[in-house]
Symmetry: C2
Amino acid sequence: MRIRLYGARILTMGEEQEVFKGEVWVKDHLIERVIRGEYRAEAKDAPGEAFDEQIDCMGNLLMPGFKNCHAHGPMTFLRSFADDLPLQEWLTQKIFPAEAKLREEDIYTLMQLAILEYLKSGITTSFEMYFYPEMMAKAAVDMGYRMVISGTAVGMEKQAVKDSIDSLEQDYRTYHQYHSLVDYRLGFHAEYSCARELLEGVADLSRRYQAPVYMHNSETEKEVAECIDRHGKTPVELMDSLGLFEYGGAGHHMIYTTEADRQILKDKGIYVVTNPSSNVKLASGIAPLKEYVKEGILVAIGTDGPASNNSLNFFKEMYLASTLQKIKYQDAAALPPEAVLTMATVNGAKLLGLDSCDCIAEGKEADLILIDLLKPNMQPLNHLKANLVYSGSIDNVIMTMVAGKIRYVNGTYQVNADPITIYEKANYIIRRIECELTGLC
Amino acid sequence: MRIRLYGARILTMGEEQEVFKGEVWVKDHLIERVIRGEYRAEAKDAPGEAFDEQIDCMGNLLMPGFKNCHAHGPMTFLRSFADDLPLQEWLTQKIFPAEAKLREEDIYTLMQLAILEYLKSGITTSFEMYFYPEMMAKAAVDMGYRMVISGTAVGMEKQAVKDSIDSLEQDYRTYHQYHSLVDYRLGFHAEYSCARELLEGVADLSRRYQAPVYMHNSETEKEVAECIDRHGKTPVELMDSLGLFEYGGAGHHMIYTTEADRQILKDKGIYVVTNPSSNVKLASGIAPLKEYVKEGILVAIGTDGPASNNSLNFFKEMYLASTLQKIKYQDAAALPPEAVLTMATVNGAKLLGLDSCDCIAEGKEADLILIDLLKPNMQPLNHLKANLVYSGSIDNVIMTMVAGKIRYVNGTYQVNADPITIYEKANYIIRRIECELTGLC
């Protein structure tokens, strides 16, 4: 399969972040050629070349898809289910009881619903931390979507710790390099939900498999204070001392870090994944991204789950990633759009070990999106990158391609599944769970 | 002209904020009937009734259009023109020089561009503070859009003050109750840009015409501190002492207010218009909306101009209006979606003197929007109002009706103007101004 995308503006997200006019050829799952040159308004075959499909991009912007580096996609069932509560109360009183009623087969549908939303938002890869990896992997493969799954080791009691470590290793062996579209990473929930022995067990797996580790980290002041009470160390210091940072990885949220923490992150090459809309909505705080960038710590962006966010909208995250820094530091120059776009694409790909998905270049994976510039929110064309971050919307995503296949175009999905059926099933799942929780049916 | 919108979920924004299934009939510019009842899947005529058009809303949500209570629509030409600068530097070094090059006829095109963006965002009315009211009024009338224009009195020197007051009165007499779609309000730019004599002149007009007054107010700490230096009073105290608050009105931004200020706002029934995305992007601060609401001060929402925001996206404003309060007060329960929706519709209409546009009820103006629920970001339907505020997007607006006429539907405008031509003209205007500023052409 060979596709020609011509008449485009192209933002490769290579180092210079230049925007130029040209075209991109896609062969099977890869970018075959990137050609600079003025628009060719007519879809003529290039001499001696045969294409299965030629798409006139009409001057719109072709760029790499966004990498959503922290998500709990199947939590779509809890969107707008329990809002306006602080993190701990929200988790323990609302989220955990509802999650306890989930059945394995529910995860497939709920993950499908999230993938529909990702594709509409220009997200071509997400890093999913949730239960039942088999269901998530199946949804990704069936819909032709790229996914990295994170381990979710969690537990305090001796038996739970042992089971969790065993299951993490089992899943790692099953889903690491599982499919061209699906990979797996070692991960645990957070310091506050895991016994020290569990963290030691994950560190042991990290050493044995020479694998990076991912976790929620330093999301609230309470979390950090309690960790210091328990262990005499901040979460970052504790994890470093246990050997969890020897092969890289990332911490999700990272709102409350000390200077010493940041030195560790920098020395060990640990990424920060920021989730700004979840952090404001749960009143957790604003991560010090400006300092991370200044200190050379790499930052990527995530949506977090749709139960806390409440959407999987990467334009919202990019806007907030930038503008919340301006308000936090009372500095309108903090985190300009170029830095945000690097986080949203290049850094995200590297964090996930997807170096082949980071930018538009020959030989890279064809994970591309087309941004409609012929909408009022993108006009006039003063500064395309600022428009993307400051005025862009999911409404501007007119095409999302994953691994060389168009999965979303002009309001229509090409994902081997019917959206309306997915919506109906998702509504049924949450109604069933509500019935089980209240006993009123 | 008689239109039947059936098979809808309806959020009237009446006091109870109930959502019910039913239909709305529109006759000419008014809502003729609101009928409760299960979906009628087929578009049959109601017995004995004849409709020019019957629209199956397919279970989607019909609600009043949003009221954008502070905007400088024609500043579309400066979208992404000068970002990442603090307010004063941004205004004096970038915005004012570019604005000085505007020609009167530019305003018509630039206002048209903003109206396209408003309609796409579900905004049915905006309150426009900009120069050349004739051009703005003409754009509104030609496109069938509802607009209230604010005076922009401004000046420090004696002659400028006199001219500005004369011109304000002249415009008030011309554009107040100018057209069924266009009204005008007394207004001045801000304390820091107006001599005391100008404020006294506006107060005099307010008394003579018994008319409310609108202005930028308490947007930055610097503004408040300098006003105290100049006048020994905060901006709110000064304006009150000059008699500017005797007939109501509103202050735009209102980020830095004292307890005494808030007592004045409450006593005099002055509204606060919050512009959260502009305030974070310019690093101005977060307005104390939670306190305003607690103290019974009415709040409405604005986008501010597209040069500072950078979009005219009411979903972004609603999300930020709520979530920035959560982060400001470290309180996840601050400003729930119901309060935000009241600000976005009912309060906005009242602030603009458009009591006939506040909600869906028989005899009210048919300023309606239809929200697509069959998109992944709105599923499942756990809590529609939370979905609107926390996960909604301009992508969900599938129809915008102003005064009984559909002006936007499914990606198409019905506004007596061609969007592509408007985009081209807007690009030409900013390129011409850049040339004039740099002298490089």
